[in-house]
């Protein structure tokens, strides 16, 4: 093996090594196997983990699990399926839990995308590629970026991974059979996260327009694009049909300008790149002047990626922010060019050329600077041992069709984590609950929400004309009043660090319930008591009871 190749491999291992060390290694305490979902910092992460686990249980993704669909058993699997299936395969082969393999897969695929982007840029200029790569650490260290990994925007991350692959394949469309690779990569993007496929199509269009303008679009090349499109169509049509009738029906394109992601999704802005933004600006200006002989398509793709990141101003809303998660890779070319331009100016002063070896040294120094001080998340995440044990107990010991009412709990704001019980999950509405507390009463009728994953609208029926339960079932007015006496189980959190008064109120509700000899504690730990109602529907308390 050539010395140059060994240097290259070592360098890339350092780049992805730092990314994995700081990203997954640090949060996972440098372990892979955990006893509970570890490193999950928002409800979305649990949503993917629970869905993937249900796919593992069922052996397929025909339907969504009923504990995520208001009890409906025939809701078609409508979430982009790629990541979940990779995670299940890895879990089955290794014996690791899906909650470990799914997060590992996200980081591992992102690492591969970093290396793939290095080689994309290498076909532009090898020194630029070396100098560009330190920016990839901004996938983690830039404000708003790490959220993609730890808040659970995993499908978006994976969609971007395969968008990088699509770019790689696009640059090889002229190779014989190159259209096959482009079709597969595009299908991977669509089934990884469908909105990234729209960005992929826009990037392909940018290159196609360039080829038309430069009169490089031969009949043969045109047919290669057509074949790639046909292959993409064949590989993804089944899922696209579901997606079109579910997600695109519930979240249609509307022309609104959005500059912040409501709900804390995390937005990476160009200014968040700090001083590297100035370097990238230099690179953007320098590319047409200094790299006329390099592959122009790579530069066009990078300029286009910069512009597409701002499509939140033309109605792409949070999907533009999803795309920006990977700006540190899409714009890395400009960073590399900017640094090389600075190095070239500096080296002309000392009359020494910036060799590849110097580029490696400079790149590693930059990587150290960019990675310095990164520690946005610490600890195991939202899931506490004690809560995980309770959810596992419910999963193992309660009837499959039972419904569990969760009174107030500190963690329950991120209610998706509770669905790990794999039971119908109902959570008291906090405003109503606090209102009753302030009135000093326990009411038999409480305002509460049944958990369901509403994004796809719960599609069902024939694949060519899906119905949406969300539009058909009036119960989807989510905050409806429930009779406390009708639930099968109740969780009563006895303590609270955030709201001790609410924990006391929980106990008051719980003690009223257990006055009935058919409602009994069946499980307990330091935090929670689980009560079982053996006669759901039987009157268990007066309409209103005064409490101290």
């Amino acid at each position: 093996m050539k010395r140059e190749t060994i240097f290259e491999i070592a360098y890339l291992l350092i780049i992805v090594g730092v990314f994995l060390w700081l990203g997954l290694g640090a949060v996972w305490n440098h372990e892979i196997e955990h006893s509970k979902p570890w490193g999950y910092f928002a409800g979305d992460a649990f949503q993917h983990q629970i869905r993937a686990t249900s796919i593992q249980d069922n052996g397929n993704y025909h339907f969504e699990p009923e504990y995520m669909t208001f009890g409906y058993k025939d809701v078609r699997g409508n979430y982009p399926p790629l990541l979940n299936h990779i995670a299940v395969q890895l879990s089955n082969l290794t014996g690791l839990k899906v909650f470990d393999t799914i997060l590992f897969s996200v980081f591992f695929l992102a690492s591969l995308a970093i290396i793939a982007m290095y080689f994309i840029i290498k076909h532009f200029d090898s020194r630029v590629a070396i100098l560009a790569m330190p920016l990839s650490i901004f996938l983690l260290t830039a404000r708003g970026s790490w959220i993609g990994f730890f808040f659970g925007h995993w499908p978006a991350v994976v969609g971007n991974v395969f968008l990088v692959l699509t770019i790689w394949a696009l640059l090889r469309i002229e190779n014989k059979n190159g259209w096959i690779l482009l079709g597969i990569a595009l299908a991977g993007t669509a089934l990884g996260h469908t909105s990234e496929a729209i960005f992929a199509v826009l990037l392909i269009m940018a290159v196609v327009i360039f080829q038309f303008v430069k009169k490089q679009m031969s009949k043969e090349l045109f047919f290669k694009y057509a074949r790639a499109a046909a292959l993409f169509f064949v590989l993804s049509i089944f899922y696209i049909l579901i997606f079109k009738q579910s997600w695109m029906a519930t979240q249609p394109f509307t022309f609104i300008v959005q500059t912040e992601w409501e709900g804390g999704g995390g937005v990476l802005n160009f200014k968040d790149f700090g001083w590297t933004a100035f370097v990238m600006a230099i690179g953007m200006i320098a590319v047409p002047f200094l790299f006329r002989k390099s592959n122009p398509k790579i530069a066009i793709l990078s300029y286009s990626a910069f512009v597409l990141g701002y499509t939140n101003y033309v109605g792409f809303v949070q999907r533009a922010f999803n795309f920006r998660f990977f700006w540190p890779l899409y714009l890395a070319l400009f960073f590399g060019v900017g640094i090389l331009t600075i190095l070239t100016i500096a080296s002309s002063l000392i009359k020494k050329q910036a060799s590849k070896n110097i580029c490696y040294i400079v790149a590693i120094i930059i990587l150290a600077v960019l990675a310095r001080g990164y520690a946005p998340v610490q600890g195991p995440g939202l899931m506490q041992d004690i809560t995980w044990e309770m959810l596992q107990w419910i999963d193992s010991n309660t009837e499959k069709n039972s419904t569990v009412l969760y009174l107030y709990g500190d963690l329950y704001g991120q209610n998706t984590l509770l669905v790990n019980s794999r039971r119908q999950t109902v959570l008291v509405n906090l405003d109503d609950y606090i209102g009753k507390l302030q009135k000093g009463v326990v009411s038999r009728y409480v305002n509460a929400s049944l958990y369901w994953d509403f994004n796809g609208g719960l599609p069902h029926g024939n694949i060519f004309s899906l119905g949406l339960y969300m539009l058909e079932d009036e119960r989807f007015n989510r905050r409806i009043t429930h009779d406390l006496c009708t639930f099968d189980y109740y969780t009563v959190d006895k303590t609270s660090q955030q709201n001790p008064v609410l924990a006391e109120y929980n106990k008051a509700v719980g003690s009223l319930l257990v006055k009935n000899n058919w409602i009994k504690p069946v499980y307990g730990n330091q935090l929670t008591v689980l009560l079982k109602n053996e006669n759901p529907g039987k009157e268990c308390m007066p309409n209103e009871t005064k409490v101290a």
Partner: protein
């Protein structure tokens, strides 16, 4: 072929060491299981997708394998084929498809 197997062995060994460094608190057995699974699903198929072996081809080959494994498991599951079967046939399908693909394709251009 002998060179290919040597490269494959070298790649897997580097991968084991790499993961053991990042996840130094994890038992070696777990790392070996994970590397074995990734090797079967992604690394070995990637060696057959392209004629020429290089880090670039291996990296994108692994990503293509990931697409085919993910997509294939999804569709095979829908027609009733279990994960345990798709875990066997999908990597084999990638290897076979890679061989067919290479039959008709010219050498991958690796500029630079």
């Amino acid at each position: 072929m002998k060179q290919k197997l040597l490269n494959l062995f070298f790649t897997i060994m580097v991968f084991v060491i790499f993961l053991k460094v990042i996840f130094y608190s994890e038992a070696l057995l777990t790392i070996l299981k994970l590397v074995a699974a990734i090797s079967w699903l992604l690394i070995i198929p990637s060696f057959f997708i392209f004629k020429e072996h290089s880090l670039e081809n291996m990296t994108v080959g692994m990503l293509f394998s990931a697409v085919i494994v993910g997509l294939g498991s999804y569709y095979l599951g829908l027609v009733g084929i279990s994960f345990s079967i798709s875990a066997v046939i999908l990597p084999l399908a990638v290897i076979l498809a890679g061989k067919l693909y290479n039959k008709g394709s010219v050498k991958q251009e690796n500029a630079d």
